[in-house]
C-alpha cells in the first residue's frame, strides 16, 4: 500500500485502504461521579481528498474521538478501553510515543475551536508557524520565517510580511483562525481534523474561513474530518456525515441523502430544529429532554427517552448500525419507518 494508491483511491473509494479508519473505539473518563463513557464503539473512515463531517451535540463524543486520533487525549483521566485507529492501515494506538509524535503535525494536523486560547499568547505568530518547519524539517530561523510569510499569504492574511512578528492578541478572530489553519497546513499533512473551526467566529467570517478550508483541502487533496454541531456548515463542504449521540454513531450517510431522507429520529430532530424562512413566526421545533449524563447512559438505544418513535424494544436492545441503502447506516430499530414517513 502506497500513498499513490490512496490518491487514486479517492476516485474509487471502495476497494482500497482508507487514509484513516477508526474501528470500534471506546474511551472513558474516570471522574468523581463515576466512569463517564464518552465514546462507545465509534467506527468511521476518511479517504484522501474526502470530507467527513462528524455531527453531534456537546458531549456526544465527537471531540474526544478527534483527540484520541490526534493522540492528545488527557490520560488520565481519559482511557482508551477498546478499538483501533488505523492510519494507512497501521494501528496508531500500538505505536510508540515517538512514532506518534512524528505523525502529529506532519501527517495529521488539527485545527482547534478557539484560536485565541489555542495559540500561545507570548510567542509571535511567526515563531509559532516557523516552529513547524524548524522542528520537523530542521530549517533555519530565516528559512522558516520566509516559509511562514508564504503560509500567511496562502491563507490570505493581508500584509503578512509586516504582521509576522505580531502576537495572537493583535489579530482579529477570523485572522487568528486563519493562522491556526496555516499552522495545520504547514507541512501539507494528509489529514486535517478541524474541531468546530468556525464556532467562535462571526457568521460572515464563518463562511469565509470555511470556504478557505474547503479550497485548501481540495488543492492539497487532504482528508478532512470536520467536527461541528452546525448542520448549515456541513451541507456545502462535506462528502459524508456521521451523526453522533452519547458516544455512538447513530447515522452515517453521504451528505445529500441525509438532508432529504434522514434515517434516524435524532437526525430528523436535528434537521427539524433548523430555523427556516418559510416557517417564520412558527414556534421552532426542539428535541425534548437533555442529552444523557455520560456516567449513566440509558440502556438499549441511548436516545429512546427523547425519541418520539420509541417502543418497548428501544429500552432493552441496543440497535446496531443497519445498512440503509448505498453507504448509509442507521442505528435505529425503526429506520424503515423513519425514512419512509
Amino acid at each position: 500500500m502506497t500513498v499513490t494508491d490512496e490518491r487514486t483511491g479517492a476516485a474509487a473509494p471502495v476497494s482500497t485502504t482508507p487514509l484513516l479508519e477508526v474501528r470500534d473505539l471506546h474511551v472513558e473518563f474516570h471522574t468523581r461521579d463515576g466512569v463517564a463513557r464518552a465514546v462507545n464503539g465509534v467506527d468511521y473512515s476518511v479517504n484522501a481528498g474526502e470530507t467527513l463531517a462528524v455531527l453531534g451535540e456537546s458531549g456526544s463524543g465527537k471531540s474526544v474521538t478527534a483527540q484520541t486520533i490526534m493522540g492528545i487525549l488527557d490520560m488520565p483521566p481519559g482511557r482508551i478501553t477498546q478499538g483501533e485507529i488505523l492510519f494507512h492501515g497501521q494501528d496508531m494506538l500500538t505505536m510508540s510515543a515517538e512514532q506518534r509524535r512524528k505523525i502529529r503535525g506532519r501527517k495529521i494536523a488539527m485545527i482547534f475551536q478557539d484560536a485565541l486560547s489555542s495559540l500561545n499568547p507570548v510567542l509571535s505568530v511567526g515563531y509559532q508557524l516557523g516552529e513547524m518547519f524548524r522542528v520537523h524539517q530542521g530549517m533555519s530561523r530565516k528559512q522558516a520565517r520566509a516559509k511562514s510569510i508564504e503560509l500567511m499569504d496562502r491563507v490570505r492574511i493581508p500584509a503578512a510580511k509586516e504582521r509576522i512578528g505580531d502576537y495572537p492578541h493583535q489579530f482579529s478572530g477570523g485572522m487568528r483562525q486563519r493562522i491556526m489553519i496555516a499552522m495545520a497546513l504547514a507541512l501539507e499533512p494528509e489529514l486535517i481534523i478541524a474541531d468546530e473551526p468556525t464556532t467562535a467566529l462571526d457568521v460572515t467570517v464563518q463562511a469565509q474561513v470555511m470556504d478557505l478550508l474547503a479550497e485548501l483541502q481540495r488543492e492539497y487533496n487532504m482528508g478532512l474530518i470536520l467536527i461541528t454541531h452546525d448542520l448549515g456548515v456541513v451541507a456545502d463542504v462535506a462528502d459524508k456525515i456521521a451523526v453522533m449521540y452519547a458516544g455512538r454513531i447513530v447515522e452515517t450517510s453521504p451528505v445529500h441523502d441525509i438532508y432529504a431522507r434522514p434515517a434516524h429520529p435524532y437526525t430528523k430532530g436535528l434537521l427539524r430544529s433548523i430555523p427556516r424562512l418559510d416557517q417564520k413566526g412558527q414556534e421552532l421545533y426542539a428535541i425534548k429532554g437533555l442529552p444523557p449524563n455520560l456516567t449513566r447512559i440509558p440502556g438499549g438505544c441511548a436516545f429512546h427517552p427523547r425519541c418520539p418513535m420509541a417502543q418497548d424494544v428501544c429500552a432493552t436492545d441496543v440497535p446496531l448500525l443497519h445498512p440503509v441503502g448505498a453507504e448509509r447506516g442507521s442505528a435505529c430499530h425503526f429506520w424503515k419507518e423513519t425514512i419512509g414517513d
Binding site: G105, S118, L119, N120, V122, L123, M183
Partner: protein, 307 residues
Amino acid sequence: MGRYVIRRLLQMVPVFIGTTFLIFVMVYALGDPVAAMFGDKAPDPATAAQIRHAMYLDHSLPAQYVHYMKQIFTGDFGTSASGQPVTQLMGSAFPVTIRLTLVAFVIEAVAGVGLGLIAGLRRGRLADSGVLAFTLIVVAVPTFVTGYVLQYFLGVKWHVANPAVAEGAPIGDLIMPGVVLAGVSLAYVARLTRTSVAENSRADYLRTAVAKGLPRRRVVTVHLLRNSLIPVVTFLGTDIGGLMAGAVVTERIFNIHGVGYQLYQGILRQNPPTVVGFVTILVIIFLAANLIVDLLYAVLDPRIRYA
C-alpha cells in the same frame, strides 16, 4: 516601550520620597541622637544645643529631611558612630551583601523553579507531595534555626563548609549562608512555579503545541515554562529587596560584615546617618529591582507592552 519606561521611572519618585521620609522620621523623631552620643551620662545642655545646631537638628523635621536629601545628592551621607564617613562603610558593606544576595538569588531561582517544575508536571504524584512537604517544612522553620543548625552540622561537626565567612567574603564561603538566606523564598518560588505550571499545562495552547508534534522537551521549555514563569519573575524581582533585608539575620549568624552587620551596629549605637543612609540605598536597590522586573515582564508577556 519608551513611554512605559518613563512612566515607571516617574512613578518611582514619590515612592522614593515617601519611604525615605518615613524612615527618616522614625529614626530622627523617635530617638535622640545627641543623648545617644553621651551614653548613660546626661549631656551638658549648652554642649548638646551646640551639637544639635551643628547636626542641623534644631530645625523642623521636614526641613531636616530636605537638608539631609540635599547632602545625600552631593554624596555626603554623614559620619558613623565610629567617626568614619558612612559612605566608607557602604563601600565595604554593600559588595559583601550584594554578593551574598546574588548567591542566594541564584539558589532560589534555580532550585525553586526546578522543584516547582518537577512538582507541577507530576502533580498528585510522589515527587509533587515530596516537594510540597519539603517547602512546608522550610517555610515553617525560622531562618535563624536553619542557620544555626546548618552551621553546627555542616560547619562545626562535619567540616563540610566554613562555619563563618572569612574576611572579604569569598563565594565558596557564601554558599551555606546563601542557602540559609534563600530557604524561605525558595519554598515560595517552588510553590508558585508549581501552581503556575499545573495551571498552564491544562491550557489550550499547550494542547496545540502537542498537536503540532513538538518534542516534549520543547513543549515544556518553550511553551509551558515561558508562560508559567511570568508570575515567578515578578516574585523573584521583588524578593531581591527581601533577600537584602533578610541578610541582617543571616549575616549575624555567619559573621559576615555586610549591610546587615552595619545596620545592626547603627541601630545599636543609635547612629541616624548610618541607619538612614543604608536604608536609603536599600530603597534605591529595591526600586531598581522592581523596575527591572516590570521591564522583564513586558518582554515575557507581549500583552502588557501595549497596555
